[in-house]
Every structure is written in C-alpha cells, then in structure tokens.
C-alpha cells in the first residue's frame, strides 16, 4: 500500500481506491477522456433545458440549414435543430449504455456467481448456458428481442443487456473460483460466516476490479449496438433521434448537405472513443502489470 506523509509528519496509508484513482489519473489520455465524458453527460442533461429548441420543433424556414447563428450545427431535412438532435441522441445513447450495463451486471453477477460458488453439476449446466450465449449471433438476437418486446428505449437496452452478459458471467465465475480457494475465505468459513456473508463481504469486493472494467467496456459496446439497430431501422422509434438513425438519413444527403451526416458521425465517434479510453485507463489502473 502506498504511503504518504501527512502535514504533521505521520505516515498515512492510502486506501486501495485512492491508489487506483491516482494510478488512473496519472494516465493523461484517460484523465482527459474522463473529463470529456463529464462534459458530455452535463450536455445531455442541461443543453435541452436551456436551449430555445426541442428535438421536435420544426422550422420550415431552416430546412437543410447549414450551421449558422440561430442553429449552431444547422438543421436536418425537417428543419429540426441539429444540436438538439445530437444532444438527445447522446442522452438516449447514455441511457441505453448504462441501462444495458446494469442488466448485464445483474445477470452476469448472478449466473457467474452461482456457477462459480456452487461448482459441481450446477456449474457444469450454467457453463454450458454461458457457452451457448457466447455462440449466439448477438446482434441478430437483439433484433429478434426487439421484435418481441417492442421498440422503446427501455426494451432496447433490456434486449442489449439480455444478449451481452456472457463475458461478464464468465469473468465473475472465474474470479469467484479463484477467490473461493484463498485462505481468508477458508478462515471465514472456519469462523462460522454464512454463505451469504462470504459471498457479499469476502468474494464480491475482490471481484470488483474486473467487473468495473467489464462494465466500462460494456457502455460503448451497448451504444454501438443501439446505433446499429437504429441504422437497420429497428432502434429507437422516430421522431426520437438516435445516432444510427441520423446517420442513415444523413447519408441520403451526403453529396448536397454533408453537415447532416458529418456532425452525427463525429459526435458519435468522439463519445465512443472517450468511453473506450476510460475503459482502457481503468483496466491499466486496476492491473498495473499490464502496462507495457
């Protein structure tokens, strides 16, 4: 554990979390991208509140408008303000990303945890289930689930979460198996700790690192899946905007009004990139050995 001198000269040990945070912020690119994400989240929340336009407002005098003083990023074919469309796309993508990760987290933790902790026949069965999920063409399964459940923001992130938990489950399983064999868990058993207590207080905290990494990489993956579904025409229902939808409509106008496709593509790329860098930064922070 890292030691630090406090003002009165005593040695103070830094907590595990602080060590990881310090490690994370020593990576400049990752720290910068964390800042970008904070800005993006604030934009998704506050720009719609302060903007004079809503994503549904149609301005017939500004159809296909290129960027100008009134519409900073121009307008789309229906005269809707591009900046608002992008902010709402961002908002939807964040909801889908975080929601899908929550679903993935719950399912993965439950199945992986049970499988790893119980072992034996249950483990064998659940491992086969996880294997089959791995083989599933995930994206196609998403589309089928959306056909089944309907097209709303909630069903979309639910569908994405429901198809993407296999890596999480496998990770939790292997992590639980490793931790289960350690001496302090045995000591816990010897001291009479219940199974629930062992799972929650002994094993879960030690699985947290890999889980955080897995989740942080799951957010951009879910955003990618959602935009892909919108691109195909089975994502978020219009008029609610989504990057995938904006990119498909924008493509029809790529020759005459390139701003209609460039802004969505660029903002989506920046968002995904920021999340990926944060995910990589977290991975390096939790496991400094991997830095090469």
């Amino acid at each position: 554990m890292a030691k630090q001198k406090t003002a009165d000269g005593h040695m103070k040990s830094r907590s595990h979390t602080m060590t990881i945070l310090a490690q994370y912020f020593s990576n400049k690119a990752a720290a910068f991208c964390a800042g970008v994400i904070v800005v993006l989240v604030l934009m998704a929340i506050f720009v719609p509140v302060f903007s004079p336009y809503s994503y549904e407002d149609v301005d017939y005098t500004a159809l296909y408008a290129t960027p100008n003083a009134q519409h900073w990023l121009g307008c789309d074919a229906a005269g809707r303000d591009m900046l608002m469309l992008l902010c709402y796309s961002l908002r939807n993508a964040l909801i889908v990303g975080i929601g899908a990760c929550a679903v993935q987290f719950v399912i993965g933790l439950l199945l992986g945890g049970i499988s790893g902790y119980c072992g034996g026949r249950i483990d064998n069965l659940l491992s086969r289930v996880i294997d089959i999920m791995y083989g599933f063409p995930t994206f196609l399964f998403n589309l089928i689930l959306v056909l089944l459940l309907g097209r709303s923001l909630f069903t979309i992130f639910f569908a994405i979460g429901l198809t993407s938990w296999a890596p999480m489950a496998r990770l939790v399983r292997s992590q639980v198996i490793t931790v289960k064999q350690s001496d302090y868990v045995e000591a816990g058993h010897a001291l009479g700790a219940s199974n629930t207590r062992i799972l929650l207080h002994y094993i879960l905290p030690n699985c947290l690192g890999p889980i955080v990494i897995c989740l942080s990489q799951g957010i951009p993956a879910a955003m990618f899946a959602e935009s892909g579904m919108s691109l195909i025409g089975l994502g978020i229902l219009p008029p609610m905007p989504s990057w995938g939808g904006l990119i498909t409509t924008g493509q029809q106008f790529i020759l005459s009004y390139p701003h209609m496709i460039l802004f969505p593509a660029l903002s989506f790329a920046i968002t995904i990139l920021a999340f990926s860098y944060v995910g990589d930064g977290l991975r390096d922070a939790f496991d400094p050995r991997q830095i090469g």
Binding site: I132, L147, L234, L273, S276
Partner: protein, 320 residues
Amino acid sequence: MFKYFLKRLGYMFLAVLVISAITFGLLQLAPGNYLETQRLLEKTMTDATVSEQMKEAWEKFYDLDKPAIYRYGKFLVNAVQGKFGPSYKYPTQNIEDIIARTLPISARLALMAIAVALVVGIPLGIIAAIRQNRILDRIVMFVSMLGSSIPAYVLAVLLSWALGVALHLLPVIGWGAPVNYVLPVVALALGPIGTVTKYTRSTLVETLNQEYIKVARAKGGSFFQVTFKHALRNSLIPLITVVGPMAASLTVGTVFVENMFAIPGLGQYYASAAINRDYPMVMATTVIFALLVMGMNLLVDFIHAFLDPRVKKSLTQKGG
C-alpha cells in the same frame, strides 16, 4: 486431440440447435406478422386489401395452419439437408438460393478485410513494439485505438465523405466494379487493423523481454536478426486467436456496411428480413451466421493447436 475437436464439433451443433429453437420460439411469441406489416405498407400506396381466401392460401403455402412444433420440425429436417424453402418476401425463390448468391459477397468483403488487417496491422504492430513508448509508438497506438473503437459504419461515413465527396477519388455508391470494394473493405478493415496492431505490439513487447532474446542478443545477434527471426516468429502464433472473434464482429460489420453502401450481400437481406418479419429468412440467416461464427472459432482453435504444441498439450490434458 482429434477427440477433443470432435467433442467441440458436437457441442457446436448442439448450440446451433438450441439457438435455432430459441429464435423460433421468440419469433412465435413476437406480436404482429408479415401480412400485417405488408398491409400497413401497401395501404399507403394502394387501397388493396387481402381477401380471406388469399390469406388462407398464403397460410397454407407456408404451413401456418399447422402447429408451430410441426413447422419447427420441418425446418430442422430441411435445414439439415441445406434447404430452407421460400421466404415470405420472395415466395418464388428458395432461401438457400438467395444465400448461395449473397453469402459469397459478404464473405468476400469480410475475408478481404481480414487480409488487409493482417497485412497492415502486423507491420504497424512491429513498428510500435520496436519504438516502444516513443512518439511513433504513441501515434500508431492512437490510430489503432481510433480504428478499433469507432464502429465500421461511422468510419464508412467519414471515409466516403473525405474520399468520395471532398476529394472525388472514389465512387460513394454503386456496386459491381472492383473499385466499389475499396471503401467498404477499408471501412470494415480499420477495426481489425486496430486489433491486430495492438495485439502484435503487446505480444512482441512481451517476447522481446524474454530471457532467450537476451541470450540471442548476448551471443551477438544483430537487432534485426533477433527481432525478426527470434522474437517475431513466436509472437505471431497467438495472433491467430484474435482472428476468430474478429470474424464474428465482421459478420455484424457487414450487415451495417452493406446497408450503408447498398451492397447486395447476405447482411442486407438479414436486416430487411428482420424489419419485414420475414421469419423463414430470419431463421435461415440466424442459423447460418451462428454456424459461421462458431465454425470460425473452432477452426482458429484447431489451427492454433496445430501450430503451437503447448496449446495442443493443454487441450489433451484437459481430459481430451
């Protein structure tokens, strides 16, 4: 080892069976059907309505008057023989003929993308590893991060704008001439290039830190001799393992890229089948995609075991 792979093959077919059953079940449960979506579409164009007689004949044609379990059984029996019957949208064509026509296009795109990724990614990875933590390494790693995290179709958009619209170098749309392959393949390849570069760099860096490399250097091996003859050989074998997942993500990538560039590949047929609720087509393509993804992974593991005796040993020790 062959016993192990036979077992894997068995599991694979079992998994495909489960996948097809789940897909079929979910499609049965899904509200709405093909006729309804078609009627909604057609109402906007003509006033035509579907007569009861027509509907009955249609249902009979596709066995929809029989119980679902019968249809699933029939699907399985036919699928084993490589037959999928007519689709809803194209009643006069058999799905297997559509697949035979469109799958090669998608496969060619994906294979070309993998080839480009290996040809470009491996040298980039080597450069990055040799110049580790220098400015050149940083630039290469940033570019590969761009490639591997941004979705293929966003790159397709940016590329077709930059090369097609702004610079007038390549056609943005159209299909048939070899030049039409350039943008889709590049868009598909950028992600894999990033993955290959990162992977080559990290394995090569690891190998260069091994003891036997130090020995080779100490014995007077030149920089190039050591890097290319001793280190590179050993670091390229694990690269095979990333090709499997890469092929899987490329199958999804082709769905998007084919839609963006209006390429008549299987991916585009899948997407339109899902939107139109063309269930026979959805079933057939799902099974084909699942087989492709899992078959690719199996093949990759097989080649890996074949090339690396350590992997082979670990597989047979696991209980063969």
